[in-house]
Symmetry: C2
Subunit: 200 residues, 2 copies
C-alpha cells in the first residue's frame, strides 16, 4: 500500500458512522475505538457522525480499523461514510500532514478476517470527464477482483474487508489525481454480518 | 409541498439504508415497511441498501415515511442515503413517472413527531458553479430555520423530521433545476433517538 498517498500531500477527510445493529451498540463502538490508534489524524465525533482528517493513508487506516474491530464482534455492523479531498472550504488540521506514512493500525487490523458487502460511488466535482473517471476506477476494482456488479447509483464490491478497503482507497486516490486541485468525494456503505441473503 | 416536482419529470432515485441500533432491527425495519405504501415508486432491496426511484415527491415521501415509522419506536435509528437525479446511466423505471403528485404516505407520517439531527451534503456534478449552488441551498435551509451549522464536509439540520425532510427535498430539487439536465446527488444522515449529547 506504499505510494498511495497524494503526491501533493493534500488533506483527506472522511465523515462516517459505524452502525452496530445491536442493543449494546455503544459498547461495540467504544470497544472498537479503544483498539485504534488515532494519533495521526485530526478526529472529532458528534451525535451524528465522526470526522477524521489527515493524510490519505491514515484516514483509510483509521476508518478500516474502527470498522474491522467493530465487525469482528460478529454483530451486523455497517460503516457508512463519505471520503473527501480538495474541498475548497477545507483548511484546518494541516498539522497532521507532516506525519510519516507508516500506518499505525494495519498490523492489528490485518489479522481480522471479515467478509463484507459494499456499495460505493465516486463523485468527481467540477470535472466534465467525471463519468470516465468513475468508469476507470470501477475498472481498477474489477482488476482487484472485488467488483461484483453495478447497481443503480453505485458499484458493488464483495470480499475480505482488507481487499475491499484497498479497492476503495485506490479508487479514491486515483480519482483525486486526475488534476492537481481536483475535488472528489466518495460514498461507501460497508456491511458485515448481515442476516440478509447476499445479493451478488 | 406542491410545485416541488421537477418540471421536466426527470427520474429521481435514492439508495438508502435504515439502521436501527437494536437487537430486533429486522422487526423494526419490516414493521416500518409494512406501514408504507410504495406503489408509486420502483423499489428494490438488497443485503446492503434499498433503492427507490420515481417522481421526486414520491421518493421523498417514501423515504421519510419508512424512516419515521422506524424512528417512532423510540429506538436509536438512522437513515443514511444518497439521493440522485440526472445520472447519465439512469434509465429504467420511467413507467413510474406518470403517477400523480399526490403523496400516499404524508397523512400517516405527519402525525408522528420525531426530533432528528441531520448532516447532509449536495454534490452538483459537472458544474463549475457547484460551490455557489451548495451555498444557495444551505441558505434555503437557513430560511427554513432547520440549518444549525456547517461541519467539515456537510451541513447540519436539526428539528422535526418533517421540517428537516422538507429542507432536504427543497435543497435537492432546487439544485437539480440549475439546468435542464443537471446531475446532482445529495447525501443525508438523519438520526433519531441518539443517546449522545446533541451537538449543535
Amino acid at each position: 500500500m506504499k505510494g498511495l498517498s497524494c503526491g501533493t500531500s493534500r488533506i483527506v477527510g472522511c465523515r462516517f458512522s459505524i452502525y452496530p445493529m445491536a442493543d449494546n451498540f455503544v459498547d461495540i463502538i467504544i470497544g472498537a475505538l479503544k483498539e485504534v490508534d488515532t494519533s495521526k489524524v485530526w478526529m472529532k465525533t458528534d451525535d451524528v457522525s465522526t470526522c477524521v482528517r489527515g493524510r490519505s493513508e491514515h484516514v483509510f487506516d483509521v476508518t478500516k480499523a474502527i470498522f474491522t474491530h467493530a465487525a469482528k464482534t460478529g454483530v451486523h455492523v455497517v460503516f457508512n461514510g463519505t471520503f473527501s479531498i480538495g474541498c475548497p472550504g477545507d483548511s484546518e488540521g494541516d498539522t497532521y500532514m507532516s506525519e510519516s506514512d507508516e500506518r499505525l493500525n494495519e498490523e492489528a487490523s490485518r489479522v481480522e478476517k471479515v467478509e463484507v458487502a459494499t456499495q460505493f460511488a465516486l463523485y468527481p466535482l467540477n470535472n466534465p470527464d467525471y463519468m470516465q473517471v468513475i468508469a476507470d476506477q470501477v475498472g481498477v476494482a474489477a482488476d482487484h477482483g472485488t467488483f461484483t456488479k453495478g447497481v443503480h447509483y453505485a458499484s458493488r464490491l464483495d470480499g475480505d474487508v482488507h481487499d475491499v478497503f484497498q479497492s476503495l482507497e485506490e479508487a479514491f486516490v486515483n480519482a483525486s489525481k486526475t488534476d492537481d486541485r481536483s475535488h472528489v468525494t466518495m460514498t461507501a456503505a460497508v456491511s458485515a454480518n448481515s442476516p440478509s441473503t447476499k445479493d451478488n
